[in-house]
Symmetry: C2
């Protein structure tokens, strides 16, 4: 079982001043668990930035939210689990628009400032009667006062196959950053979508938020690669209320934001369903950061390597096989590989006795020395297990 990590700063989308949130049950999921979340920015600023899946088969809410975010302004986010609204044609686009309009009407804002996120099975239409009723319930709950648990409730309502809600937070010099995540995206099996909403009360303009968010996601969510599968719905949103009145140094803010994103990315890997190991693959002494990332990602995507780790087999030959498929700068006769601190491969050949490697624990560290420069990068992934196969073969049936 996974346990949520202990945190010492306020967590989640209501940690920052100027935000309210709720999570309710609209009846979209057969399980009867919460499935609709709403996050509202009360300002004074309504600045926002976002990164979306690069999958060309993008869900209807991705198309909608890309347009909403284009002017760097957003009032609120409505999120549903229980249906991805992907590959649903014109009806799907109309349903996303109707979701935004119903929420905007209830909040008294413009639908063009309403972000929409969906997650669940691809290729099925959303039950709009339940969505519409749920939006009414959510807005009424918000009006009545969402209380201190609003952020946690929202984090629970966006869960699909997640076993725990995921929240993170950062505070510094009078401003706060908080976030929630679910899933899945390129990551846990089953529902295959990562949704992340991050809020801050820092006073930053939309272009600044955009720069900070791209810098932070590049070294956090982009490096969590559980099963190599990119979703049609992946979304990371950043909303800024300016309610703290603090205008932080952008580099410092980016560092804090990166910390929040990295914390959430680690929680996603730790909770990836069907996984028995959390694996960090660090390539170092690379000619470039891109080289290091390519090498680590190639290993992270090798099914032979991933099954070996599941079997507690420190099979470094499968690491080298994956490294050898990349275009990174290295000499095959100089590669060193250590697994959990034991240097099983030295100079491209046999190193320490593989039986010295202990893979009984949940955490695994693979370190690849490319002897080609000074750059490094780490990719976080999971092993490939019987439970992964079970989860994903049984999901939609």
């Amino acid at each position: 079982m996974n346990h949520a990590p202990e945190h010492h700063t306020p967590q989640g989308v209501t940690a920052a001043a100027g935000f309210r949130a709720v999570g309710i049950t609209a009846g979209l999921k057969a399980s009867g668990t919460p499935d609709l979340a709403l996050v509202v920015n009360d300002g004074p600023a309504k600045n926002a930035a976002a990164v979306f899946t690069t999958n060309r088969v993008a869900a209807a809410p991705i198309h909608w939210s890309r347009k909403v975010i284009a002017d760097g302004r957003a009032e609120a986010v409505i999120l549903n689990s229980g249906g991805a609204n992907a590959c649903t044609g014109a009806e799907g686009h109309a349903n996303t628009r109707a979701t935004a309009e119903a929420t905007a009407d209830a909040l008294g804002v413009d639908a063009g400032d309403l972000l929409v996120c969906s997650t669940g099975l691809i290729g099925e239409q959303l039950p709009m009667d339940k969505i519409t009723a749920g939006i009414g319930t959510a807005c009424a709950a918000l009006e009545a006062g969402s209380g201190p648990d609003g952020g946690a409730d929202a984090a629970t309502a966006i869960m699909t196959t997640d076993s725990v809600p995921k929240q993170a937070g950062f505070s510094c010099a009078g401003y706060a950053i908080g976030g929630m995540a679910k899933g899945a995206g390129m990551l846990a099996p089953g529902l295959a979508t990562m949704l992340v909403v991050i809020t801050t009360d820092a006073a930053l303009e939309a272009p600044e938020l955009d720069a900070a968010l791209r810098a932070a996601t590049r070294v956090s969510f982009d490096r969590a690669d559980s099963d190599g599968c990119m979703s049609t719905n992946d979304t990371v949103l950043l909303l800024a209320s300016g309610a703290s009145g603090i205008r932080p140094d952008l580099a410092e803010f980016t560092d804090g934001l990166t910390g929040v994103c990295t914390d959430l990315a680690h929680q996603l890997i730790a909770d990836a369903e069907g996984a028995a190991h959390e694996i960090s693959i660090r390539s170092f002494n690379a000619a470039s950061e891109d080289d290091a990332e390519e090498v680590s990602r190639s290993v992270a995507r090798s099914n032979l390597f991933k099954t070996a780790i599941f079997g507690q087999d420190p099979n470094w030959g499968r690491v080298l096989s994956a490294v050898g498929t990349t275009a990174a700068a290295f000499d095959p006769d100089e590669l060193d590989v250590a697994i959990n601190g034991v240097q099983v491969c030295r100079a491209g050949g046999i190193g320490e006795d593989r039986s010295l490697v202990d893979l009984a624990g949940r955490k695994v560290l693979v370190e690849i020395d490319l002897h080609a420069g000074e750059a490094e990068a780490t990719i976080w992934t999971n092993d490939l297990t019987h439970d992964y196969v079970h989860e994903n073969s049984a999901y939609s049936s």
Copy 2:
């Protein structure tokens, strides 16, 4: 269980005139099954061509055989299972050389004309005492007359996790082509190496053989992609004795060779361990053959798609998710997908009822209409199953 297909022409490496082969037990494998094969070209011509793994971490025998084949001439091939001789450093290179020299001495030929292939676990040295003794046994058996079963014995001796030996043949207008294959390369789990030896008595020069082999492998072995993992040892060899005296039209010969390679590639996919389905992914109406291949391969490498097929779930959303990650020319709103003849996705959206798809059988056909041109390509792959995970987590321990 798999069954070898029925063939109506002579099969294997001794189907063509001018070749002898043996397969014997050298004691390299704990199982005690045959593990050393020898194929000898008695001429009159000794022309040869080869394609090797593009993995930059290449095994010692790959480095050796690349040099042997450089002049387009080879006398014989010695192949062992029970050890890949990959990532074995200077000692590994010396062992490959010693294997070639011992075989060449026994045959009375130049070691520089002796091709070497190895398959098995990466990162362990070969037991050279057993290899050397085995070479003596193999050459003595060959000298005593290998008999009509020599090709079949060789095909058996190169097996690793294969459940059946794999042979194919083609004959036309007075000349023959025959071949054997084992494995694994980017394909079956476990031992992760594909070795193929093809012989012909056609009278063709080395550059012609090279052109024909590259054309044939491009549309056969290169399109069999069971698990996306490229081996350190993959090798396809083509030896020509000229013993038929026939000099065929090169295009006709290439067609015949492509047929033999495709037959062997299908046998590899059919025997991939741990697989419950043999999946053909055909992309058509593509702007180019490269586009079609990229789209089909992307689907073939999606673990979510592969587990769905194992679960007999016609989850076309996972097909579209994989298609959407490619750079191929298509409009997401025009994509059509059929699974076993049922058009489950039409114009990027919901098509026929997915419950109409029958996935109980072993063969699965996925057809993706890109509506972007007239080119097509098919990739053959397997599903991702509990047995795959079991095989590969248990292999080296």
